[in-house]
Amino acid sequence: MSLLIYGLINSVILALYTVGFSLTYGISGIANFAHGALYILSGFAAWTFMNAAGLPFWLSGILAVLISAIIGFVFYWVLLLRLRGIPLAELIVTFAAGVAILELLTWKGFYGIRYSLPVLVRGGVEIFGVGIDYQRFIVLACGVFLVVGLWLFVHHTRIGLAFRAMAQNERTALSIGIESDWIGSLSLAFGAALAAVAAMVVLPLGVMESTIGYEVLIYALAVAIVGGLESTLGMIAGSFLIGYGQIAAARYIGAKWMIIVPLAAIVFVLAVRPSGLFGKFKELEERV
């Protein structure tokens, strides 16, 4: 039973890691490799607001999300504008920016036990003989809310439809009056904001460290690769596969084997179905 519950929570955390990355990639085709860096950066931003400015947690949380969104937005106009359409350059630049942020954080000394965010609600409850603290419920609720909300947003709102139009064909979208630079920068901003939201709910579970940024990026990529890059369903499936796999590995083989799971999952998926479980097999399709 505890396997089921912890697996679920772990899976939802993974989905939270991935949701922003997946959103950005799905809309503008930008693989934002600074995702992990933005995640942890917003955590430290919230901490700074709380401890240096004395703001309450909810306010600093909101501010951190806003800051992360603004950074994402600025990223687009400063770094990516000249590089649109060159996936390699986009990727290298976002990655370099992410690594630069993380290394700067490490250099400034943002690691150690004193850096942690408070939980929203203290305490816990026992369900089916498994003790769970309330924060994990919040994580769960937030994960479900974000994934469902994202789906509704993309499929049923005006700007969401514009997003989808651009994801399908940028030139056509341009020709019907959807400005791709605007949408591209928004997609980065939304992705960054989602990274920050994830940080706000997941980070209180542990201690903050700048290296978490790499970890988040790795997990987000692993989930995206396993599930398939552009598909929401794939993202969910990927997180559950890796999430439960990890908990099961920790339970039956040993905690140190947890890290093998994403690697094994990637190797397995790539060997069997290279485009991911739910990815579209775009390798050869050609429509003239």
Binding site: A31, F33, L79, R82, L83, P87, L88, A89, L91, I92, V93, F95, A96, A97, V99, A100, E103, L104, T106, W107, Y214, I218, L221, A222, A224, I225, L229, K256, W257, M258, I259, I260, P262, L263, I266, V267, L270, A271, P274, S275, K282, E283, L284, E286
Partner: protein
């Protein structure tokens, strides 16, 4: 408006033998013109270790090792495979050489060649499922693999875990290591250039530009890409094996991000596609990063800064700029 009356005009220097295939050089002056940019840097590189003190010789070895990784990156990029994980190649080579020496006590004469070949094969095997996919997948997977392998070594404790394998066999003389690095680097540089200009390289470049067209020519592009992966992987593994025996130690740090980021930064700085750019970039960046050693962890941030600036502002790279200056002259001309 003064700007409007004048324009900058670029002219090729009047050398006849500038084509790729025809060599019809007339005078010694022209021969010198063509050979100087190739032989002068080589000569400098070969003579340099004799004049440098021990510390800077170490830096030179570093530069050659990073140079090898940058060349291997550029080689893959020429066939459309953009890697973010040169440390995978590096680390595999380093660990193979280290393990062979540590567990089986094989001498360096055996471990380095074996690590080079086995590393190449292993890279090709590990990455061959990925190269069927285009776009960012290859970069994503290459980025993840070394980081995950690092975690695997850390948590499971194989190959010495966090402590690594130490007191391995070294080189009998320091100069041997230095010259091995330099010669490996130069051989790679000129070999890769030669490969890319031959028909074999033509196909690799064609795969990058339009894989469907190449497939319709009856060429098995996946087999060709595996070969390219092997070549690039072998170059990276050689660098790793060399490093292992030079330091007589191999550890998790061989999978670290440094070995992935710096080569990419070097290529971005020097200019992709020519190999000379990659070589030049690493020869600039590595000594620079030594000078920045005092900054510690900030160094990586600075590489990243250089990388971003050179991609955005100098997309063609430093080498192309120099080559243009060498082959063309500019003059300001009045517009009639």
């Amino acid at each position: 408006m003064a700007e409007r009356d004048f324009r900058k005009k670029r002219l090729d220097r009047g050398i006849k033998a500038r084509s790729d295939t025809i060599f019809a050089v007339a005078s010694t002056k022209e021969i010198l013109y063509l050979l100087a940019p190739r032989f002068v840097p080589v000569a400098i590189l070969l003579l340099l270790p004799l004049f440098l003190e021990s510390y800077w010789n170490k830096v030179l070895v570093y530069a050659c090792i990073y140079g090898l990784l940058a060349l291997s990156w550029d080689f893959l990029a020429s066939c459309g495979l953009f890697s973010l994980g040169q440390s995978l190649f590096f680390g595999l080579g380093a660990y193979i050489a280290g393990a062979l020496n540590y567990y089986f006590h094989l001498p360096t004469v055996v471990t380095i060649p074996v690590a080079t070949l086995a590393g190449g094969v292993l890279c090709a095997a590990l990455l061959s499922p990925v190269m069927r996919l285009r776009g960012v997948y290859f970069a994503m997977v290459t980025l993840m693999l070394p980081l995950l392998l690092m975690k695997v070594v850390e948590t499971t404790g194989v190959f010495g875990g966090t402590h690594g394998l130490s007191s391995l066999a070294g080189f009998p003389h320091e100069m041997l290591a230095i010259y091995l690095a330099i010669i490996g680097f130069l051989v790679c540089l000129f070999l890769f250039r030669r490969i890319m200009n031959a028909d074999y390289g033509l196909i690799l470049r064609a795969i990058r530009d339009d894989d469907r067209s190449v497939m319709s020519g009856g060429i098995n592009i996946y087999w060709r890409k595996s070969q390219a992966l092997f070549i690039a992987g072998a170059a990276g593994s050689f660098a790793g094996a060399l490093m292992t025996h030079h330091y007589q130690f191999v550890g998790m740090s061989t999978f670290a991000l440094d070995y992935s980021i710096l080569p990419v930064a070097a290529v971005a700085l020097g200019g992709p596609g020519t190999f000379a750019g990659a070589a030049l970039g690493s020869m600039i960046l590595v000594p620079l990063s030594e000078a920045l050693r005092a900054l510690g962890g900030l160094r990586i941030a600075i590489y990243c800064g250089i990388l971003i600036v050179s991609i955005i502002l100098l997309p063609e790279g430093f080498f192309h700029y120099l080559a243009r200056k060498y082959h063309q002259f500019e003059r300001i001309e009045k517009i009639k």
